[in-house]
Symmetry: C2
């Protein structure tokens, strides 16, 4: 398999993009990535989108989007793995270039979530859980993650404040990200006093409903020089599934699909957790970031909460997590989220992250998750 690099990334400011359709949003982010890479055509494209059929009354999205992007007749593939759809699109783009089949592949993601009501959106998102055994019993995602939070607090003594500190850190980071949906700081008190959603999670523990797109351009690593753009090498890709329903899992205090995907990505990259300089992880709820920071091996089980409190995951900490603002502040248009993580890692590795730029950014990791951890994608990238 060939080595693969990213030579361009793009995303717009996320939020409630009332004046833009799903096709507008995707094309905008794709053109930003193509401009960044300096390419005017694609050999193939992948688009991650969770539920355009429910959110936007449009399936067959890759056909619409290749058409509107002006890439006539290229192979186009929509992939879906709930909120990990973007990470999955990236993996398949990597695989296509690595296989030798194509030389210029776009991996993108998009979701337009605000054209339906909040309760309809909650229903749409619930289809990422096990609808037969969870969703149709009335359990939606805040409830599922609340159960994990309670289990983690019971077993390890994780405190309510630890959860809030994740939101505080990510909003502080996001306030430096001009593309974030909610680029403002919040305090522990604000989080703890915000509206209850599913005990112990309040509204400020939850990532928002968002419209947005993101895209990356992948080429063979040995051709990066032809484009005259700074390339970032993909050195590890890990992908795993798990029982989609929580009742099918051995342990509610961890997310096995994340640990398994990370193990595979670390093995491919020849890296260990301590080799990673920074990570973008799937903080759909504050508890998720704590659990994931343990599953990725950055902290021992149970130490994720104290780690946030100590500042270990802050931009100047041992392992900065979600310096982009994460899903919490940047927004969570589910299909695009995994690619936006790639955007942040590429910009950090290029030294082009502006006010958010980390001092030490040579190896970055992304972790993108579907549902309550029924699927997970981990990618590791390195400066070339």
């Amino acid at each position: 398999m060939r080595d693969v690099a990213v030579i361009g990334v793009g995303m717009q400011k996320w939020g409630e993009l009332w004046t833009k359709s799903i096709r507008d949003i995707f094309v905008e982010s794709a053109l930003l990535a193509m401009d960044d890479a300096g390419v005017d055509h694609l050999d193939s494209m992948y688009v991650g989108s969770m539920s355009p059929g429910i959110f936007s009354s449009q399936e067959h999205l890759e056909s619409v989007l290749a058409d509107y992007l002006g890439q006539h007749h290229i192979p186009g593939t929509r992939v879906e793995s709930a909120c990990a759809s973007g990470g999955l699109a990236f993996r398949l783009g990597w695989m296509e270039v690595a296989s030798g089949l194509s030389d210029i592949v776009l991996a993108g993601g998009v979701e337009k979530m605000t054209d339906i009501s909040g309760s309809e959106a909650t229903y749409a998102l619930a289809t990422a859980a096990d609808m037969k055994w969870e969703g149709l019993s009335g359990v939606t995602f805040p409830g599922l993650y609340a159960m994990m939070a309670v289990a983690h607090m019971e077993r390890y003594g994780t405190k309510r404040e630890h959860l809030a500190q994740v939101a505080v850190k990510n909003h502080a980071n996001g306030s430096k990200n001009p593309r974030a949906q909610f680029p403002f700081p919040v305090t522990v008190e604000q989080v703890i006093n915000s509206v209850k959603v599913a005990d112990p999670l309040n509204i400020l523990d939850c990532s928002p409903i968002t419209d947005g797109g993101a895209a990356a351009i992948l080429v063979p690593a040995d051709k990066v020089k032809d484009y005259g753009k700074p390339g970032v090498r993909i050195i590890g890709s890990g992908h795993a599934t798990d029982s989609i329903a929580l009742h099918g899992r051995d342990d509610l205090t961890t997310i096995a699909a994340a640990a398994k995907a990370a193990e595979r990505a670390y093995a491919m990259a020849g890296k260990k957790p301590e080799d990673i300089d920074f990570a973008e992880v799937h903080d759909c709820f504050t508890i998720a970031e704590i659990v994931i920071s343990e599953a990725l091996g950055f902290f021992e089980p149970g130490q994720g909460g104290p780690a946030v409190e100590s500042g270990a995951t802050a931009p100047d900490g041992k392992i900065p997590i979600n310096v982009s603002g994460g899903l919490k502040s940047k927004g969570h248009p589910v299909g695009a989220t995994g690619i936006a993580q790639i955007v942040e890692v590429v910009e950090q590795l290029r030294g082009a992250a502006g006010e958010r730029q980390l001092k030490q950014a040579r190896v970055g990791l992304t972790q993108n998750m579907g549902g309550s951890g029924g699927s997970c994608l981990v990618h590791i990238m390195e400066v070339m």
Copy 2:
């Protein structure tokens, strides 16, 4: 890239499978394929499904299905390209094995379409057209294909009877297929006198609403001997998109995505149309088979209708088409259709197609199409 072979296929009898859920249907077909291949585990799996979110209130399908198939923690990928979702799953499974990343990959497809009403199903299917410019104006698929039929009849003199003869041939073929949803013959008179759907198409010109699954097991060609099963080599894979809306196309009498995908598959395989012994093509409507038989190069433009009339596409003709019964008689559970085409070609190439077995079956082709031709997959397979 490595050569790839299919060593196992499976599908159940299709129809209205009231007692089975979407997960039951997929697992049943996947286990049939795994048994046929003699494998008890997978490295990875792809599942094509068009709209499980609308049809079955369940997205994140690969997580559910890997779980229920007992394949704990494997990478699982759902792909969607409307009615070409199965063909797309097959292409990605081929790519993953060809790349060297995995050695045992399942490519499957599934749709359960009968748990919602007929009008809801018509809506769900319409999301495969351009909803903004077609669906929301009230145009659904019978109308789109009817426009193509009128254009073809106007330009080439294709007759109403030619359309009916496609249905007659495919039902005659399907009556020998124990897994077909409608395994009975129909006459030209019955087709022409059946209920009008969208002039000139009647109900017997249309493929049905179906529940069903299908699966194939892919391995590197040089490892086929390890399994002791007859392998079938994948020698060509072509994939193309087109303008999803009919108004964006140059010519309504052909389907450019099919011609483009075929051109790519022929080039990879080093074959020409005249080298193909038989084909399974996407006869979602009778006119589609006529147009596609021309786009694949089996007949000159305008000669697809007379070819059916002459018997050239019958099992004993020059190029047998849809000896399985096609979508028309076998059924069309949209995500599974592309894989069921693979099932038929593999069984024919193995000489194991029973009553339907063709005398000359050394090179077979499948053509699977999304929407009104917004996407297309073509695969060519050969006896090893």
